[in-house]
């Protein structure tokens, strides 16, 4: 009996802790509140080289607002590119202007510790996902984007080492992961939930009644009610 009560108390405590965490979630650093949209942290099918002064690109459709980062698979066997790797994000491959660019120096191209990069990358052999991040693009939902990687050779160090970056590809596409940030408030979460509830009121009325009846029945069957009843009966009998 005690085991069961212990389990029930544990569930109650977990519910309180979870509720407390959710209630304070909007106080967390925003770097923690990121979710993955497209892609999985899975081993790509093949590795391809980006030769010096060349590029490789990928287009995608973003499903959610606040696109804030992309991770692409880099081979561990990437030689140290004696130069730089540049990341560009545009609205399409022919767009004149880019939305974001980043320069990744050869010493920076190594595994990072991102809180949203779970499950663990231990299943990733031969490489890792490298994430480039930027301020969230609020209107990204339903939009197409194009990102590409290009290597720029350092002419001073030409010929002094491996100058290629190897990236992963799966089913013909670059192996990549898109990340979106949650920038809302708990009020917005509540409002979203309330809107969805309102779309199906008959169900919620029925569900609410069912839950109420169940809880009332539990209350009616609590021990104190029966002990009181038993005492009353005993007294009558004596």
């Amino acid at each position: 009996m005690e085991t069961a009560k212990f389990l029930l108390m544990t569930y109650g405590l977990m519910a309180i802790i979870m509720g407390g965490f959710i209630g304070s979630a909007d106080q967390l650093p925003r770097s923690f509140l990121v979710f993955r949209d497209i892609g999985r942290a899975a081993q790509p099918d093949e590795l391809v080289e980006i030769p010096p002064n060349h590029g490789i690109g990928q287009s995608f459709l973003c499903n959610f607002p606040n696109l804030s980062g992309i991770g692409f698979f880099v081979s561990s066997a990437t030689g140290k590119p004696y130069g730089t790797l540049r990341f560009h994000l545009k609205e399409s491959s022919w767009a004149a202007h880019g939305l974001f660019s980043a320069t990744i120096l050869s010493g920076e191209l190594k595994p990072q510790n991102k809180p949203y990069e779970l499950p663990l990358k231990q299943d990733l052999k031969r490489g890792f996902f490298y994430y480039v991040e930027w301020p969230p693009l609020a209107d990204s939902q339903g939009k197409h984007y194009y990102f590409y990687l290009e290597t720029a050779q350092n002419s001073d160090l030409k010929g002094q080492g491996s100058e290629t970056v190897k990236v992963g590809k799966s089913k013909g596409n670059l192996a990549f992961i898109t990340c979106c940030a949650w920038t809302g408030t708990l009020t917005e979460v509540g409002r979203y939930f309330w809107d969805k509830l309102n779309q199906d009121r008959p169900f919620w009325v029925g569900y609410g009644l069912l839950l109420l009846v169940t809880l009332a029945a539990i209350a009616a069957n609590l021990p104190w009610r029966h002990k009181k009843g038993a005492r009353g009966k005993g007294q009558e009998q004596t």
Partner: protein, 434 residues
């Protein structure tokens, strides 16, 4: 401690049934895991819509690129039956599965819970999740009732019932994720009940039926043939009886689907995900063979001593040991713990120290396997997809503050293996105490 009387036990069971119901109702409408429950019901939905008996041939014809086999035939027919009734409560079911169909035709079976929760947000998602999980309650409470009856006395029976009502593996796998593992669990428990009541043929039939829902109950058939059959003739008879459900169901489907139905049983290209590589398979077979030898020897000893071997404790111990062997050498997932949970609960009723070991097992395996948002906060994506999908889990903080997460997971995994061995040892030691 005074033994409970009949009336008090009935009242206690009622109270805990209501508590169990309340917990389930609170979880059911708000949780899902990727495409699990959608995949389970999508093909029965097609079956209902088009009047299909052989879903395997239908999949072969209409979804040739599908690399995921559907579940065994009885799973299909049961969910078809459920949906035939549930559809009256789900007016937007066509819209619901229409959107799912459009998604999989573009993206295949992929995507996370956030994608599906967002896609289906305006199709009475909460109502659909709630009603699709309602049929599981029958098997859930049926199992609880069987555990109550299998226990030795009222006190232990009530304990088993309570633990089942609060079973975290069950609540997670069935009501949060939406899988139907409770059905083969119910059938395996019924097989144990029938065996203990000396209904030998029914015992093997229930195991066979369980194997036609999800394959794993079939692994106990050799144990049951040897244990329940008093001589070779009877064992062969039980073998024959256990094949009857498979022949009735599989032969017509094999013919009509050109053999494609066998993929649902042998799941060859996915078997690795469940059993692991060759070494793990060999270890499991070796361990299982040792158990069979012990059963044969135990039968001979019991016969010599003129004592019954088939009793709840012994049979339960054997079933539990097979499961423990699997989770020790196979590729187990957290939600597979629901398979062994009724048998562990029965063992806990005999040896209450096992309760703490059971909790430890859950905790260590959770640390190893529940290591992503989708299997934790992400289950609640239907409430608000982008919010719950972005919530960090404990491991997220460990990663961000450069704790050696891989090491923590390795240690948890070894602790999990150690706990499994300790549970197995205690169960083995007490297998003959009745």
């Amino acid at each position: 401690m005074p033994t409970m009387d009949q009336k008090t036990s009935q009242r206690t069971l009622l109270k805990w049934s209501l508590i169990g119901l309340a917990i389930r109702f609170l979880i059911m409408p708000f949780t899902m895991h990727t495409w699990d429950i959608l995949f389970i019901y999508y093909f029965p939905y097609q079956g209902l819509k088009h009047g299909i008996f052989d879903i395997y041939h239908f999949i072969q014809q209409n979804f040739p690129d599908f690399h995921v086999p559907y579940y065994p035939p009885l799973a299909y027919f049961l969910t078809l039956g459920f949906l035939a009734i549930l559809k009256f409560f789900l007016p937007q079911l066509d819209h619901f599965f229409g959107l799912f169909e459009t998604w999989i035709s573009t993206h295949g079976i992929g995507g996370g819970t956030i994608q599906y929760a967002s896609l289906l947000a305006n199709t009475q998602l909460y109502r659909t999740l709630f009603f699709l999980k309602i049929p599981y309650l029958m098997f859930d409470f049926g199992t609880a009732f069987l555990l109550f009856r299998l226990a030795k006395d009222l006190d232990k029976g009530v304990l088993c019932y309570q633990l089942w009502m609060l079973n975290p593996a069950l609540l997670y796998d069935v009501y949060a994720v939406g899988q139907f593992d409770v059905i083969p669990v119910f059938l395996t428990t019924t097989a144990l009940y029938a065996a203990v009541r000396n209904k030998k043929e029914w015992a093997v039939i229930f195991l066979s039926l369980g194997g036609l829902v999800k394959v794993y109950p079939a692994i106990f058939l050799p144990l049951f043939w040897i244990l329940l059959g008093e001589n070779m003739k009877e064992r062969l008879k039980l073998l024959g009886v256990s094949l009857i459900p498979w022949m009735i169901v599989l032969i017509p489907l094999y013919i009509s689907s050109n053999g494609y139905v066998l993929d649902s049983i042998f799941i060859t290209h996915m078997l690795y995900n469940v059993t692991g590589g060759p070494i793990r398979k060999v270890l499991f077979i070796a361990g299982y063979a040792c158990l069979l030898v012990s059963v044969v020897r135990g039968g001979a000893v019991a016969c010599a001593k003129r004592v019954p071997l088939v009793n709840v404790t012994y049979l339960n111990a054997l079933i539990l040991l097979v499961f423990l062997l699997y989770i020790l050498v196979g590729l187990t997932k957290f939600r597979y713990l629901v398979w062994l949970s009724p048998f562990l609960i029965l063992a806990i009723a005999q040896d209450q120290k096992l309760a703490w070991l059971g909790v430890a097992l859950l905790v260590f395996l959770a640390e190893v396997h529940l290591s992503g948002n989708q299997v934790q906060w992400g289950l609640f994506d239907p409430i608000c997809p982008t919010f719950f999908a972005s919530l960090p889990i404990m491991d997220s903080f460990l990663v961000a503050f450069t704790f050696p997460l891989a090491m923590i997971h390795k240690v948890s995994y070894f602790l999990f293996l150690g706990t499994t061995v300790v549970i197995g040892y205690r169960v083995w030691k007490r297998r003959n105490s009745y």
